[in-house]
Amino acid sequence: MADSSFVLRPSSFNEIYRCMKCGNCREVCPVFLETGHEAMVARGRVQLLKAVLEDRLDLSDGLRDRVYACLNCNACYVACPCGIEVDQLILASRIAMVRAGKPLPDSQRVLRERIVGEQNPYGQKQSERGAWLPEKYRKPRPSPVVFHAGCAISYANNRVGKMAIAILESASADFMMMGDEEQCCGDPILRMGDVDSAEAQRRRNIEEYRKYGVETIVTACAGCLKMFKSYYTEQAGLQPSPFSTRDSELRTQDSAPSAQDFRVIHTLEWFAELIGQGRLKPQKPLAKRVAYFDGCDIGRHSGVYEAPRQVLRSIPGVELIEFPAHHETSRCCGGPLMASDPEMAASIASKRIREVLDASAEMIAVACPTCMVNLRDGANRLGAKMEIQDVTALLYRVLK
């Protein structure tokens, strides 16, 4: 091996060699469909990693840029006849590059500094994190349920967070929040390959939750959901958690204790339960043709497909339609590229919009803050008359 610090799990070698190079991934990869370049699709990246293992390629800047251009949507895993866990390979190679001391791409470097410095990707102050919250939620208290708002809601747009709280309170649902003490789940920093910092976040968050007797983590952020399910616990969606305790190479030496006893759900799952129990009653009609968009983090990565649909179906007047590719074959909105390649992110988003414009959808319902922002960009770019709303916002609208 050229670079002895390029460490992958032993099973990663098998993954790389199992690639049949059939190219099925080319059909579903959003970045490939934009660029037409083989190095921008799973097959190309897997073969590049194979070249590194076989001493034909170093951990070059060119390799790094191609590996970091991946959306981590994992559509390729679903399309792959061999079931290659591409997302895990991409993550493992980023981790290996960070450990080898390779400088991150510029857009990622800034993000990392912010998360390590202020425990959020926006670089805003920890002390201001809970400012949007009613007083009773600004400090943690013992409770079996913690509602984790996440950084996007806390710092970028708290509208959905406020509505979620209002909805839960209207159903007399009990929960606490970490408030001013809430910290990033660590997903963005894990995605960029800094597993050591991500592990520090995981350890700290789990210790805090245990301190307050938490049994269930509820979150309104799809990214946090994915992180809690696949990294904190082992309840991931489609494939085995990439970071299960078996894979010691991807964890730091003294990992935090297993967190298998936490139940992790999205707020929409709780809303669906409450609707089922009659504690939430969607009453006002909403006569719209709505396409629900299966975001990658809540869908493929976390396995939550039905709860958002149940919530939408419970709203009188809503006609629910599907995107041409949906559930585990859903296509990414392009959101993860917003920071590093806004042009491509918007181009991918506009393709998604066009898919349901053709089906006369009047609205796209999403369950992820990234999807919301990026699909709106895509709609603007097309000049399309397409409303994009969070499922939570729609439920809120019809409850009051």
């Binding site: 070059s60 390799l63 191609r66």
Partner: protein, 461 residues
């Protein structure tokens, strides 16, 4: 090796963004869907037939090789740049130029993905029949170069039966038009059919006139499970003898059935020696009558169970086993080698038995499935390329499979092509005169041996 002057010229011809020569990009274009790999010096993405011609002319001046490429999903090594030089990717030429519903043809550029063409013509009630398994990623240009087949081969034929005419850049960089958009055409040598299946060695296809047929009104799908291979084989023969040519007649062997059960857990009986998946299509009454005949024949030949799909959902269920065959087999071992040896239909039982015997003797796991109706089976070797000893046994087994097919009056390749994978065996099938004839054609059209050199054993004197 591509000189600096040539690289500058190439950047001028295609535009700098469409010229790639980093090591990472070169590695990305060094492979296809086989186990072969070779680094090109550079990659170009031409945007017009003029650019293609200019690149090929430059290649003749500077004497570098040019290997055309579509999606790079070929199964014989046709797009591997073994002589280095340039990989020329045709995917920027991806327009469906015209569809004529009156004259039943479509005009397409080579980078159009086959399934996209099929979907576009289907919207107008027409069918482009050749359906290689790779159709959602492979390109029409690649299909033409390799004469791709597919599941509809038995009733509808293969790619070559659906190409009316071509625009081709010759190995000397001239623009050639072959064939005609008419139903019938006999004017000079049939250069269209010379180009189809020539694996990128005689020209770069830049425009294709595809024949279309009306979309059949109705389709019936059936799945029959057999305890004994011979019963399934007799069923295949009996169906054809009865005057029914099914649109699809696919087969899975026991190794494949068990791989599918391991992965998909459909509920297939693991002891079954064969599964047949059969489809009839055409006018509703005809398709149904043919389907009834097929079901009866299956039962007469001791099929343990025969299921007929009542609707699209059930059809998808019946198809699941066949659709999952390759993916299920691919998950068994790290290395999967998909072969293509084809025999006359009547020899399918001998071929299946022979492959099983070869597998046992070499202690190699081989799953067999494929187009039983036209004799084009896909013995699939499951091994691990990193285990040198086992891999040597696998290679020996594959060579014996070729010999077996030839001994049964068959051919090395029904639909994947010769490329690199089967080049060493080509002479066993064509004979010395065949090779000599092909080489003289190659030399006449490509005197500087620019286009895809080293393939199909065309290089030696």
């Amino acid at each position: 090796m591509l000189g600096d002057a040539a690289r500058s010229r190439l950047r001028e011809i295609v535009g700098a963004p469409h010229f790639l020569d980093s090591l990472e990009d070169r590695i990305s274009y060094s492979y296809d869907a086989t186990l072969y790999e070779a680094l090109p010096d550079a990659i170009v993405y031409p945007g017009s037939v003029e650019e293609v011609a200019a690149v090929v002319r430059l290649a003749n001046e500077e004497r570098f090789a040019v290997t055309p490429r579509g999606a790079g999903t070929g199964l014989s090594g046709g797009s591997i740049p073994i002589a280095g030089g340039l990989v020329m990717v045709l995917t920027r030429l991806n327009r469906i130029v015209a569809i004529s519903t009156d004259d039943l043809y479509a005009v397409v550029e080579p980078g159009v993905i086959t399934a996209d063409l099929a979907a576009a013509v289907a919207r107008r009630g027409l069918l482009y029949p050749p359906d290689p398994a790779s159709q959602t990623v492979s390109t029409i240009g690649g299909n033409v170069a390799e004469n791709a087949g597919g599941l509809r081969g038995l009733k509808y034929g293969v790619t070559r039966h659906y190409i009316l005419g071509l625009e081709v850049v010759t190995p000397k960089g001239e623009i050639l038009h072959t064939g005609s958009a008419t139903v019938k055409c006999v004017t000079g040598y049939d250069l269209t059919q010379l180009m189809v299946g020539s694996e990128g060695t005689l020209g770069v296809v830049t425009r294709i006139w595809c024949k279309l047929v009306p979309m059949p009104e109705h389709k019936e799908s059936m799945l029959a499970i057999f305890d004994h291979m011979d019963d399934a084989a007799r069923t295949v023969a009996a169906i054809i003898r009865s005057g029914v040519i099914p649109a699809t007649l696919e087969f899975l062997d026991r190794v494949t059935i068990n791989a599918v059960e391991d992965f998909k857990k459909i509920g297939l009986p693991r002891q079954a020696e064969a599964i047949l998946l059969i489809e009839t299509d055409g006018q509703r009454s005809a398709a149904q009558a043919e389907a009834d005949k097929v079901v009866a024949i299956c039962r007469e030949n001791h099929a343990g169970s025969v299921q007929k799909a009542a609707d699209e959902t059930e059809r998808a269920q019946l198809w699941l086993a066949r659709r999952s065959a390759l993916s299920s087999l691919a998950r068994v071992r790290p290395t999967t080698i998909l072969e293509d040896a084809t025999v006359p239909r009547s020899r399918v039982p001998d071929m299946v038995r022979g492959v099983r015997e070869i597998a046992e003797r070499h202690r190699i796991l081989i799953g067999n499935f494929g187009h039983a109706g036209d004799g084009n089976l896909h013995p699939t070797v499951l091994t691990d390329i990193r285990d040198k000893e086992e891999y040597a046994r696998a290679e020996k087994a594959i060579e014996e499979i070729f010999d077996l097919a030839l001994s049964l009056g068959g051919t090395l390749s029904g639909e994947h092509g010769i490329g690199m994978a089967k080049a060493p065996f080509l002479k066993r099938e064509t004979g010395a005169v065949g090779i000599k004839t092909m080489r003289s054609i190659k030399r006449a059209l490509d005197p500087n041996n620019i286009l895809n050199p080293g393939k199909m054993m065309l290089d030696e004197a």
